[in-house]
């Protein structure tokens, strides 16, 4: 077996890089000198929690949590002696079962990776690696087609915008193609701002050529000569790899003048976003590229007719473009066979929150939330109770357990009061306060509102203030109705998608978790025991008097002799939770109570005289 050629793949997505994967790569390269082994790095595998990840091929062995000191062991035992390093193979966090081979890991088994086809498989900084996996094959075919044929293919595929809105991509292409004008632009929205989402980042870091290829095909289809990728500056690695990919694509004749001898000219530039979530909105993104405050414009006119510099402009999300080469190569029929009747293809999610397997997943449209959360995600972290799943980021909603069997597609999620969004999926457990979640999202949208239109600018602030009052014990009867009324007014009144969807987290939490709101307002209780104003910490009889909590209490509220039952002075306690955290797990003698505070009549209006 000595001669067997092996490839060691080291993940260097942002997550793994933060855990020193570049050093691991360097160490491996040094150790395998003289052996028949190629060491290369790849983009993200999507299971960042398990990083750094090292995959050995052709055996398809998946090593997780690899440390620098593990390098000699891998080389000595696996490479030289064909012995898999048992200690480092992936362990299922729920079943604790060791699963050595990549494709047997349940997290991957249930997935269908189209957009993520090359992520974790190729060296994103090496175009030859991408070419070996058929990158730019779609472009070659597209250039032989008529632009109208390309648009027809995209239309037939049923692909819908992967940025979240789900507008039929082919239709958008058709509008832009038909729009009058000599100068047109192709824009890629890589301003992935949804908190809790990193799908686009992973694609850009792992397979930048797929995005470029999609954009070039789009450029050919609508007769544009220039493309821009609007990428947020918070993604330095993605920008770097895109830049390298663009340069390599130019060298290989996929970008620039007379692409592949077709006479078609097209080039792409990267625009670094400067930190404004609203720039994910298409008109805001365009005004931002033009050098302005990223404030959305009224539509119509739509970008397809009047976009960047007033010219017809096609704007799609990273993942939308990444789908295009596949549609061209495999045909629209092949693509349309995947997914549901109205939602074709796959959905990519960043599955995060209180979930056992956090990570990036790709599934065919139509699988249920339950399958994603339990079969792929491995269920709730630490065996807690599932409470809600949030999709669509700040524009989406929180769905309770009763919706777990909802199929994941554009229309079903909207019907349930949430939305597909660009792919964030955050799982919440029993310890998550849903009022606080609503407050969190409103805090986000309030900070990210551009400030142009009244409903969004002041409305998000007004809702946030009411929500803050509720979680901090100043809620008033009537607040829930007021929130709903505001929410409806803001939804219909706001200028752009940010404001129109900002109330969704509030509306869905009220719709599905109204009891939690009521508990805060009427019972002085936070059922999730999260809101400080409503909770108190108590030491119960199982206390062994170790003194850990006493020593860690920042306000000296805990008293008690060594080895005796301790006591928390409720007057002094600031509910910081330090005692709860330090109490040894096997002792577990700190309890959190809620709803015990007396209801004090609140002075509604104070008239001060004199």
């Amino acid at each position: 077996m000595e001669d067997k050629k092996r490839t060691i793949l080291i993940c260097r997505g942002t997550g793994c890089e933060s855990a020193k994967s570049p050093q691991i790569q360097a160490a491996l390269e040094e150790k395998v000198q003289g052996l028949n082994v190629e060491v290369k790095f790849t983009g993200c595998h999507g299971m960042c929690q398990q990083g750094p990840i090292v995959v050995v091929e052709p055996e398809d062995i998946f090593y997780a949590h690899v440390k620098l000191r593990d390098v000699p062991k891998i080389v000595e035992s696996h490479i030289k002696n064909d012995e898999v390093v048992e200690r480092l193979v992936y362990e299922d966090p729920t079943t604790k079962e060791k699963i050595p081979t990549y494709h047997d890991i349940p997290f991957y088994k249930r997935q269908k990776r189209l957009v993520l086809r090359n992520c974790g498989q190729i060296d994103p900084e090496n175009i030859d690696d991408a070419l070996a996996r058929d990158s730019y094959a779609g472009l070659g075919e597209a250039l032989k087609m008529e632009p109208v044929e390309i648009v027809a293919e995209v239309k037939k595929s049923g692909l819908r915008g992967r940025g979240g809105g789900g507008f039929p991509t082919g239709l958008k292409w058709e509008f832009t193609q038909k729009a009058a004008g000599d100068v047109k632009y192709v824009l890629c929205n890589a301003d992935e701002g949804d908190p809790g989402a990193f799908m686009d980042r992973s694609v850009l870091e792992g397979d930048p050529h797929a995005v470029l290829e999609g954009m070039i095909i789009a450029g050919f289809a609508i007769s544009a000569k220039q493309g821009y990728i609007y990428c947020r500056a918070e993604y330095p690695l993605a920008i770097k790899r895109l830049q390298i990919a663009i340069e390599q694509a130019r060298e290989h004749g996929y970008l620039g003048k007379d692409i592949l001898g077709s006479g078609f000219d097209f080039d792409i530039e990267i625009f670094h976003g400067a930190g404004a979530f609203v720039c994910g909105e298409e008109t805001a993104l365009i005004t931002s590229i033009e050098g302005n405050r990223g404030m959305p414009r009224n539509r119509p006119p739509y970008p397809a007719n009047e976009g960047l510099y007033g010219k017809p402009t096609l704007l799609n999300n990273v993942k939308t473009y990444a789908n295009i080469p596949l549609i061209i190569t495999n045909g629209s029929g092949w693509f349309a066979d995947i997914g549901t009747e109205n939602s074709k293809g796959t959905a990519v999610f960043a599955l995060t929150g209180k979930i056992a397997n956090s990570g990036l997943i790709e599934v065919p449209m139509g699988v249920t939330l339950r399958e994603i959360i339990y079969d792929i995600g491995g269920g709730i972290l630490d065996s807690k109770e599932f409470k809600a799943v949030q999709t669509g980021g700040p524009s989406g909603g929180c769905l309770p357990e009763s919706f777990l069997d909802t199929p994941v597609d554009y229309d079903s999620l909207i019907e349930a009061g949430s939305m597909m969004g660009s792919g964030g999926m955050v799982v919440m457990d029993e310890d998550t306060c849903m009022v606080d979640v609503a407050r969190y999202f409103l805090d986000f949208t309030e900070k990210e509102s551009c400030g142009k239109c009244v409903p969004c600018r002041i409305g998000t602030k007004q809702m946030l203030t009411i929500l803050e009052d509720i979680v901090e014990g100043r809620g008033k009867p009537g607040d829930i109705d007021r929130l709903e009324e505001l929410a409806h007014g803001i939804k219909i009144g706001s200028l752009c998608g940010l404001g129109q969807t900002a109330p969704n987290p509030v509306l869905t939490t009220i719709r599905y978790f109204r009891d939690e709101y009521e508990a805060h307002i009427y019972d002085n209780a936070c059922p999730a025991k999260q809101c400080k104003e409503f909770i108190s910490y108590h030491i119960v009889d199982s206390c062994i008097g170790c003194g850990l909590c006493r020593r860690n209490c920042p306000v000296d509220a805990i008293t008690g002799e060594q080895k005796e039952l301790h006591h928390i002075d409720q007057e002094l306690c600031i509910q910081c939770g330090e005692c709860y955290e330090v109490c040894p797990p096997k002792v577990f003698s700190i309890e959190i109570h809620t709803g015990e505070k007396s209801t004090e009549p609140e002075p509604v209006l104070q008239v001060v005289t004199g």
């Binding site: 009224n298 990210e448 400030g451 600018r457 002041i458 203030t465 007014g489 219909i492 009144g493």
Partner: protein, 345 residues
């Protein structure tokens, strides 16, 4: 220009090509509430109050949407009322509602729209007051800027850009923190602001307001007396005093614009230094005299000079008629062509 018809609330109205729904409505005396619209400026659709229903499509911004032949526009529907009401309630809760002490109280668009929507105080119960305590900029001698009353309609910012072409004002920060301000958020006088007051004139609320009350009893039109542009001005008069100015929109010279001198620099007229009676110098001192005495004196004296001995300086500040009389006097009475003025200075 081509004309066409469409209906607003069932009433058939005539519009011209290029008119927005709002333009057409206003031209036909149909009121649609708005705060950020101004006829001189490009529309932005920010206040969201002018939304109408077009052929059943809700919330079409009437300020930005061209009127189209044959369309059915509704200025009111439950959804539109709801959106407007919420927007208005939000604005009120974010606004310093000290109306009695406000310069704009007699002409405040916020109050006007609020009245149109019938907003009642008890309706606001349960909403949290968001008013901020931002410092008032009173650096300019003629007007002040109170950001706590600002509704961010952007009319001032657009005016400074589109009308004045200066860009002294812009938006600062983002979201609820957004304020109108100058470069570096300094006082108006420490910026490139030229104090022309075009923004003050257009502010729909009391945020940018003149420091002195300006309500006039009547208006009289004349021409500015400063530079050669010859701007048309309507002076507002109360009793015997000029209390306000308004640019003449019909004047081809200024088309509704004025500069700082023209708009505000009229206070010299009532200055206590004004000469109010003829003065005759006696023993090196000026002594007040009657018109008769002074006229007689000058007539007598001038009879002693003729031709080259006399010279007159007339004035580029005076009227054509003044100048004609002075030159005629010089030429016909004093017998010389030595008359000049500061044309060259």
């Amino acid at each position: 220009m081509d004309q066409f018809t469409f209906t607003i609330d069932g009433q058939t109205i005539t519009a011209e090509d290029g008119m927005s729904i709002m333009d057409a409505a206003l031209a036909n005396d149909i009121y649609i509430p708005y705060l950020c619209h101004h006829p001189d400026l490009e529309p932005v659709g920010a206040c969201r109050l002018c939304g109408v229903e077009v052929d059943g499509r809700p919330m079409v911004m009437s300020c930005m949407t061209p009127a189209k032949e044959g369309t059915d526009v509704r200025t009111n529907s439950p959804a539109i009322y709801q959106a407007r009401k919420v927007a208005m309630e939000l604005l009120i809760m974010d606004h310093d509602m000290d109306c009695l002490a406000c310069e704009a109280a007699d002409d405040c668009d916020l109050l006007k729209v609020s009245a149109y929507l019938g907003i009642q105080p008890e309706q606001l119960e349960g909403l949290r007051p968001l008013g901020r305590q931002l410092p008032i900029d009173d650096s300019n001698p003629y007007f002040q800027f109170d950001p706590n009353k600002c509704i961010l309609c952007g009319i001032c910012v657009r005016t400074c850009n589109e009308i004045v072409g200066l860009g002294a004002l812009g938006y600062i920060n983002r979201g609820i923190e957004t304020v109108v301000g100058t470069f570096g958020d300094k006082g108006f006088v420490d910026s490139i602001c030229e104090s022309c007051g075009e923004c003050v004139v257009r502010c729909p609320v009391g945020s940018l307001a003149p420091k002195k009350p300006q309500l006039a009893a009547r208006e009289i039109s004349t021409i500015c007396a400063y530079c050669g542009v010859g701007c048309g001005i309507h002076f507002g008069v109360r009793g015997d005093e000029i209390v306000s100015t308004r640019a003449d929109r019909e004047s081809p010279a200024n088309r509704g614009s004025l500069c700082v001198k023209g708009r505000y620099g009229f206070n010299f007229i009532n200055h206590p230094d004004r000469l109010t009676t003829p003065l005759i110098k006696k023993d090196g001192q000026f002594v007040e005299s009657s018109w008769e005495e002074a006229i007689t004196l000058v007539a007598d004296k001038l009879s002693n000079y003729h031709g080259e001995e006399f010279a007159a300086l007339t004035s580029a500040k005076c009227t054509n008629e003044d100048n004609y009389v002075v030159q005629k006097f010089t030429r016909a009475v004093m017998g010389t062509n030595t008359i000049d003025h500061c044309a060259r200075l």
